[in-house]
């Protein structure tokens, strides 16, 4: 009885595969952001003591898209980080910075790192 039940489950798995695996593997899987590890003495989480941990570091985007003010999909009360460099005004919406915490951009010739 137990053996036949096991074989039935096995047959099901072979037939359709574990459901989670199927759901997580669409045909065009987007490339995962690059992650590397740095061992350092830091807090592993808010409020925690400092300890030596293998800290994950997530690659931030370096190729950013910008639009004119009239095309920005923002609400009046959205927060932005604004900067003027060599007469060029640039706004970094907090709602996008919060996705990455920090991004690598260039305003005119100046390499900048707005962060949140």
């Amino acid at each position: 009885m137990l053996k036949s039940a096991f074989l039935a489950v096995l047959a099901l798995l072979v037939a359709v595969g574990p459901p989670d695996v199927l759901a997580a593997a669409p045909e065009a899987d987007p490339p995962k952001p690059e992650v590397r590890i740095i061992r350092a003495r830091v807090q592993p989480r808010p409020g925690a003591e400092v300890e030596e941990v293998d800290m994950k570091v997530h690659a931030s985007p370096t190729e950013l898209t910008s639009v004119e003010a009239g095309d920005a999909p923002l609400a009046d009360e959205d927060l932005v980080l604004g900067v003027i460099i060599d007469g060029r005004a640039m706004a970094y919406p907090v709602r996008y910075l919060a996705m990455y915490e920090i991004v690598d951009d260039r305003v005119g010739e100046t390499p900048v790192a707005p962060s949140w």
């Binding site: 808010p46 003010a69 959205d78 003027i84 919060a98 915490e101 900048v112 790192a113």
Partner: protein, 191 residues
């Protein structure tokens, strides 16, 4: 906001999953040094102790920035809504409230400023009590503090009207990093 050219070399910064003083860490790709975002200094790796060069920026509402700089360009992430953010005054590590309040709560927020070696924090609740701009001197230099409640922002300018590097922060966060900072109180000087 920081410049990415440090000691003549352009660095690329990534987000690191650790904290110091409950504040964000970043790491550069080129040397794998780890930097404290709020302190603006490397805390680990070959660049340890090196300060990040600050670029004066302003944190405000989209409406205020667009109205004052209509020619601005705006970073977007096509196809993404991003993470809508409101000020919440919640100390890191404290339990998350069951229901997040809607709208901005700026009662613990203020402008942190380091100028000529002197460090000061200007709480919004104090700036609300006075007429701004507030003129004062820090380390003997003229500083003007501006506050706009509707734009959820305060900023500082120097003698020539230039924007000074300041940071909007919760008071507890600022004081963790700058325990010797003085805190502005309405009626305690200036103008």
């Amino acid at each position: 906001m920081y410049a990415r050219t440090i000691k003549g070399r352009e660095l690329t910064f990534d987000f690191a999953e650790g904290l110091i003083h409950d504040n964000l860490l970043i790491a550069d790709r080129e040397t794998n040094s780890v930097w404290s975002q709020l302190e603006g200094r490397a805390i680990h790796g070959p660049m340890t102790g090196t300060p990040l060069p600050v670029i004066a920026s302003m944190q405000t509402t989209w409406k205020f920035w667009r109205d004052t700089h209509p020619e601005t360009r705006v970073m977007v992430v096509p196809g993404e809504e991003g993470r809508p953010y409101t000020y919440r005054n919640r100390r890191p590590g404290t339990p998350r409230p069951k229901e997040l309040p809607s709208g901005h709560d700026t009662t613990a927020l203020g402008l942190g400023l380091t100028h000529g070696g002197e460090t000061m924090f200007f709480p919004f609740v104090e700036l609300e009590k006075i007429e701004t701009p507030l003129r004062l001197r820090m380390a003997g230099r003229e500083v003007v503090i501006h506050y706009d409640k509707g734009a959820l922002t305060a900023w500082a300018t120097g003698a020539k009207g230039e924007l000074l590097p300041g940071v909007l922060a919760y008071q507890f966060g600022w004081m963790d990093f700058n325990p010797d900072s003085s805190v502005y109180r309405a009626g305690s000087g200036g103008n």
